[in-house]
Amino acid sequence: MNNILIISKRELKSYFATPVAYVFIVVFLMMTGVFTFYLGNFYERGQADLQPFFLYHPWLYLFLIPALSMRLWSEERKSGTIELLVTLPISITESVLGKFLAAWGFTTIALLLTFPIWITVNYLGDPDNAVIFASYLGSILMAGAFLAIGSCISALTRNQVIAFVVSVVLCFGFILSGFPLVLDFFSNWAPQTILNAISDMSFLTHFNAIARGVIDLRDLIFFISFIGCWLFANVIIVELKKAD
């Protein structure tokens, strides 16, 4: 446990040692602003809730999260520090979890920095704060799922651009996996059970369910186990490909 925290701490510090952290946070806050106020018609709707704010989170994450996760393992491989990391007396699982938690923690910080909008909506009206809280929780969980994919993909290559592009494509697939765009791709050849499984994995469906204010255990379990599976694959990939 301790080793995981030490790895997280180092990783998190390195975000702030470079402009990465600040650029990410500024862009994130700007984009949420743009989405909420322009596209979401926050004021014009005349309703005291944060629905337009959360509505665009999946699309925001689609590009921002892979930009954050692409360096997690690619950079270690490119600079050769992976040899150092793997020969330190910690397990690969601890490294994978440590790095993931750092990235997840960082995204959570960025998300929490949107708190003024929560204050604003409470100032303007009388929103259902339980729903807002649930939406934040759902957003954090969904960010974790994006990050787990990104981390796993970045372990596959030492090229950050490739890691970014592949992660974006995969994340896009999982956002829309309950929708015809993705399902049509499989429907010609895959059996119905697999089609059902794929459509059950839609981030959008699970996120929207939580964001409505109903924290269903199934949605929580979905995101947690989704993260678990990708991180497990991440450990295996690091183990197999560390020296390539």
Binding site: R10, K13, S79, T81, E83, P89
Partner: protein, 324 residues
């Protein structure tokens, strides 16, 4: 403290390390010698637990690397080739991180970091990002990282590669200083390094272990080991040359004599002893009785370059032979 048995590593169809066995104990500085691509780094990566062997067994401080990796890694210090470290960190924060991972807590962390930094003269750059440091300092950061926990076994892959002569000298001093109560393995393709720091040398080429012995044993394999280089002053080099060669050849321990150069007023010779014999006394008294005027008299210790070439290229031929 290190025991390697029948170690092999295969990359696809290519055998990078082929059935290597050796062991090294406390106080030994073991030098891995071999041309580029010989399999030195691959062997080290397997000992440090970075690569999984295709077959064979490795134990470090009586822990098995394969079944007990974490415990083994605790007793190891490793400087990978090129001394990788996190470029955006400072040496201070980097060593701090290593100390924490190595299990030190509280005041002990600072003590270890300062101690390691002092040993490699790093204190002047502790707060600069590593990416802005010179090659020599980056290497020192790698050293500090490897010795911070005072490991029983220290493994260093080409620690002096790319350093200037002064820095190389410093590194060798550091290795010698630490050697007393550790087992140290260093890889190099610089032969003088073996003579100056190693107590034992292993030669690897094409993944195979071709020699395992002391640097002295390695030298004594040389044709030039205990050979004498002799330069004589004379007005008529050609006649003296013939006379001298004939005389020296009659000496009981002399195997052969070669004329190296004959120039104006001087003639130089290499005198080779019979296997294992020492010829300096015989040659010396021969010089006395003939009253030759000596310009240079030098007992050679042996040319490692030559032995190295000999050992590693003869395997070249056998490897090629095996292919055809």
């Amino acid at each position: 403290m290190i025991e390697v048995k029948h170690l092999s590593k295969q990359f696809g169809a290519f055998k990078a390390v082929d059935d290597i066995s050796f062991s090294a104990g406390k106080g030994e500085v073991l030098g891995f010698l071999g041309p580029n691509g010989a399999g030195k780094s691959t062997t080290m990566k397997m000992i440090t637990g970075f690569l999984t062997p295709t077959s064979g067994d490795i134990s470090v401080c009586s822990n098995n690397v394969l079944t007990d990796p974490i415990k083994t890694k605790k007793s190891l210090g490793y400087l990978p080739e090129g001394a990788p470290s996190y470029p955006d960190m400072t040496p201070l924060s980097f060593l701090h991180f290593i100390a924490e991972i190595r299990g030190f807590r509280g005041n002990e962390i600072n003590k270890r970091v300062v101690d390691a930094a002092n040993r490699v003269n790093l204190h002047s750059v502790m707060n600069r990002p590593i990416e802005t440091l010179s090659k020599g300092f980056k290497r020192r950061v790698g050293f500090a990282q490897a010795i911070l926990h005072d490991p029983d076994v220290l493994i260093m892959d080409e620690p002096t590669d790319g350093l200037d002569p002064n820095q190389k000298h410093e590194v060798r001093l550091l290795i010698k200083e630490m050697a007393k109560n550790k087992t140290i393995v260093v890889s190099t393709h610089i032969l003088e390094e073996v003579q100056s720091v190693c107590t034992r040398a292993i030669i690897i080429a094409h993944g195979k272990l071709l020699f395992d012995g002391t640097p002295f044993e390695l030298e004594s394999r040389s044709k030039y080991h205990n050979a004498i280089t002799l330069t004589v002053q004379t007005d008529s080099p050609d006649t003296l040359s013939d006379q001298l060669m004939a005389q020296l050849k009659t000496l009981p321990s002399v195997d052969s004599v070669e004329n190296i150069t004959t120039e104006q007023g001087k003639a130089s010779f290499s005198i080779f002893p019979k296997k294992g014999a020492s010829i300096s006394k015989e040659v010396h008294s021969c010089i006395k009785t003939n009253n030759w005027e000596i310009d240079e008299f030098h007992v050679e210790s042996g040319s490692l370059d030559e032995v190295f070439r000999d050992i590693t290229t003869s395997s070249d031929i056998s490897a090629k032979g095996a292919l055809t």
